[in-house]
């Protein structure tokens, strides 16, 4: 017997999603009390489902009046993405070339003063390609204590996946710092694009669910092939 795995509010949200898709923009949605009765649930749960739809930008709500179908939007909320997932979304075939992978000690210098080592860590430098074209150069630092046998893994696979499946470390949230740069000679060579091209440098710190740092990375992304879309709320 299959168990009911999904939270009620999610199932309700999905039901409402299809129902809403057949309405016109600014059409009213049935009241919360009516929905609660119809689905045999409490009003709180209905409200949670509606909140999900609101986060997706499908509906908007006016206090004292009702909820209504919102005009369609193109861009979805920014989410934590792995390279592999991003490539799939864009319909490109992702591949990875490992340039170097080594253990470095805490007294060695690091790029950029972004990475300051307090203990021995692995440094993995990889070139990321989509349909065999270089799109991004990534340098990742992971403390040895986080993933002791990292160098034995297949580093052409997703580092996130390795961290999660082999070491139980899941990247749950991340801080990113984004700067526009110009590709210099050195990068141009590695990435096989002309020097002087526009690009973006992203410095990133990844945390697990407990808010502990488990990864730092620097990635250089080719500007002609990368762009960033996101939406923000007040």
């Amino acid at each position: 017997m299959a168990k009911e795995e999904v939270r009620k509010q999610f199932r309700l949200a999905d039901l409402l999603r299809t129902e809403i898709s057949e309405l016109a923009v600014h059409d009213p949605i049935p009241g919360e009390r009516a929905l609660a009765e119809r689905f045999g649930t409490s009003r709180v749960t209905i409200r949670q489902a509606l909140a999900l739809l609101q986060d997706d930008g499908l509906i908007y709500t006016v206090h004292g009046s009702g909820s209504f179908v919102a005009p369609p939007r193109v861009v979805k909320q920014m989410r934590l993405h792995s390279f592999t997932e991003e490539m799939k979304q864009k319909g490109l075939k992702p591949t990875t070339k490992v340039i170097s992978a080594q253990l470095i000690n805490d007294d060695e210098s690091a790029i950029d003063d972004f990475v300051v080592l307090s203990e021995p860590a692995f440094r993995v430098e990889r070139l990321r390609l989509g349909n065999l074209e270089p799109l991004s150069l990534e340098i990742t630092y992971i403390n040895q204590s986080v993933a002791p046998d990292l160098l034995k893994e297949d580093l052409t696979k997703s580092l996130y996946h390795i961290l999660k499946s082999k070491y139980g470390q899941e990247v749950f949230s991340a801080d990113e710092h984004l700067t526009p740069i110009i590709i210099d000679q050195e990068y141009a060579k590695v990435m096989k694009i002309p020097a002087g091209s526009p690009a973006i440098k992203i410095q990133r710190t990844g945390y697990n669910a407990r808010g502990e740092e488990i990864e730092r990375s620097i990635s250089i992304r080719q500007g002609n092939r990368w762009d960033f879309k996101y939406s923000i709320r007040i």
Copy 2:
């Protein structure tokens, strides 16, 4: 007699914030039931307050175990920002120079195929400075129907503020599309920086609470003086 304006969950969150600030990282926070009893509130409300703290990255929660103080983070969640607010945060004095402001018709061409006019709209081109140094060039399009007398306003002030206070149109959310570019001769002249500098172009669409588009803009931001920090969640 002053009315109690603030939602209980917000007051609770503030109380807990100060309480948590005196604990050490990974220290446990009292259980939800205990907090509910202590503050004479229901557990639901306590949970809402804790959710606020979790969004701020102050605590993390482990199912079946408890809630704990999270390690400190530098970056806060990305929010919808006006230029003026951003400058204040960085401690710079914001000023604005209006380059041009005019009504254009729907048959005139527009930059970039980003802006496609379906009705007459105002085009406002402004240079934004921090401590008198040019930081950003902004071209904003606002439909005439949204703000009929826009050209009579003081356009060195915040457009958002004008839209809100004079026309009751508040920008509630926005989609942004970000691309790295290289400053060309034309931009170099206006912004008084060398051609070939790194920069970021942001194409932005602003919406009101009903999800209706009220503004489009293109801004060119000098890369040496601008960067973007944000955090993301799975």
